[in-house]
Symmetry: C2
Subunit: 212 residues, 2 copies
DNA sequence: GCAAAAGTGTTAGGATTACACCCATGA
DNA sequence: TCATGGGTGTAATCCTAACACTTTTGC
C-alpha cells in the first residue's frame, strides 16, 4: 500500500478572446489522453504553495506566464473515480482569470469557447462546470474576481455576455437580463461614463461603466 | 528538491453537545504540538478518497466511528506558512456534522464550544472560521447539511442558537433574529408541529418545526 | 404577578419582476 | 426607414427591518 498521496493542481484558465470567454487548454504530451486538450495541471510538489503550482501548471502545460494571471480562486476538490491507476486520484481546481492581452503563442495551447465546450478528458468537464458556478456566485461579492473578469471599464452587454457564457459552462439556465442595466446604475461602486469608441455593433450602444 | 506532496485532510467535526455546538478535537500524540488538542487530520494516502481520509482522521485521532458522520462538506484548501519543515504544507478541510447521540469516550477526545474556542495549533483557528462560514452560507441552500445540523425536528430557539454559535466561530457579527420564526413559517419545506416535551426553560416555549 | 423568552401585528422602505414602450445605431 | 440591441417608465409584488405589543411559560 503506497503512502504518498497523488494530488494534482488543475487550473481552469479563462480568457476573454474575440469578444467571448474561452477556456485555455493544453494539449497533453503524454498518456493518458496524449494529444488531447485538457486543463493545465501538475502534480503538487512537497512544500509547494498552491499559487506556485498553478503558475507552474500554466507555464509548463500551456506556456502561459505568471504575469498573465489577474485573479485565482479556489474552485473545489475533486475525487476522480475514472482515472487510471498511475494517475492522480485527487484534483484541487483553481479558477484563473487571464489578462485578455496575453499572447497565447505556445503551440500546445488550445482555446475553446465557454459556451460551446467540447468533451474533455478525465472529469475536467465537471471541474469547469464547478469553476463557472463559483465565478458566477462570486460576482459582485468577490470584487477581485469580478473586476478581473470585466476589466476596469465594461458595458452592460459585456456583463450579460459573460453571465450567459458562464451559465452555459455551468450547465445553468440562461439568466434573466431585463433589469441588469438598472442594477448597475444603482451600484455605488460603479459610475456611468461616456463610451470611448464611437460605437461597435448594430443596435443601440450599451451603457459603459467604470469602477470608482 | 522532493517531488512528493505533503497534503493533510483535516476534519472540522461539529457536534451538538449539552445544547450547544461543540468542536471535536483530538489530543495530539506526537510533535509538533504533542499534548495539545487539534483538528483531527491525517496525511492523505495515495488513491485514497477524500471521504475515506476523513473517516480515518476521525477514527485514528479522536476515536469517532464513521457511522457518526451525518454530513460532510468541503471547507476549503489551506496553505500554511507557519508549519515546521517536516509537516504538511497543504491542508484540505472538510466540515463534518456528527450525530449528537455519538458516544465520545475516547480518552484523546476533547470538546470545546464553538462560541468560546481556545487557541488552536497550526492555522486550525482560521480553518474552523472558514468551515463555520461555509456552513452558515449553506443554510437553507444545502438541505443535507441544514438537516444534519438541525435534526429532523427542531425549534426556533435551537436554530437561532446554532446561527449565533456559528457566527461566533466564523468571526461574524451576531445575526438578526427578530423575524426568523416568521421566515420558518413561510418555508414550504417545514411544518409547524406540537412540542413533544411539555416545556424546557423559562419563557414562552419556541415553535417546533418538522421537515415535510 | 413578575420576569423571561418568544411569537405576532403592523408598517415603511426597498428590491424584484414583468411588460410595454422608447431611443440610438448601422445598413 | 427598418431591424436590432438596449435603455427607460411604471406598477404590482414581495421581501426586509423595525419596533411595539401580546402571549406563554417558570418562579
Amino acid at each position: 500500500m503506497p503512502t504518498q498521496p497523488l494530488v494534482s493542481i488543475d487550473a481552469v484558465p479563462v480568457i476573454l478572446h474575440e469578444g467571448s470567454l474561452h477556456l485555455v487548454l493544453g494539449v497533453r504530451e503524454y498518456d493518458p489522453f496524449a494529444g488531447r486538450a485538457a486543463l493545465p495541471g501538475v502534480l503538487l510538489n512537497a512544500h509547494e504553495r498552491l499559487a506556485e503550482a498553478v503558475e507552474r501548471a500554466l507555464l509548463s502545460k500551456a506556456g502561459v506566464a505568471a504575469g498573465a494571471i489577474l485573479a485565482s480562486v479556489e474552485a473545489g476538490v475533486f475525487d476522480d473515480f475514472e482515472r487510471d491507476e498511475r494517475g492522480p486520484t485527487l484534483s484541487i481546481a483553481r479558477l484563473v482569470i487571464l489578462d485578455p492581452n496575453t499572447e497565447l503563442s505556445d503551440e500546445r495551447v488550445e482555446m475553446v469557447p465557454l459556451d460551446g465546450l467540447p468533451d474533455l478528458p478525465f472529469d475536467h468537464r465537471a471541474i469547469v462546470a464547478r469553476a463557472a458556478t463559483v465565478l458566477l456566485d462570486s460576482l459582485w461579492i468577490n470584487l477581485g474576481t469580478t473586476r478581473a473578469l470585466l476589466g476596469d471599464t465594461f458595458d452592460t452587454a459585456e456583463l450579460i455576455a459573460r453571465m450567459k457564457e458562464l451559465s452555459a459552462a455551468a450547465g445553468l439556465p440562461v439568466p434573466e437580463t431585463a433589469n441588469i442595466g438598472r442594477a448597475l446604475g444603482s451600484n455605488k461602486l460603479l459610475e456611468r461614463v461616456a463610451p470611448a469608441a464611437p460605437a461597435g455593433g448594430r443596435g443601440r450602444p450599451p451603457a459603459v461603466w467604470e469602477w470608482v
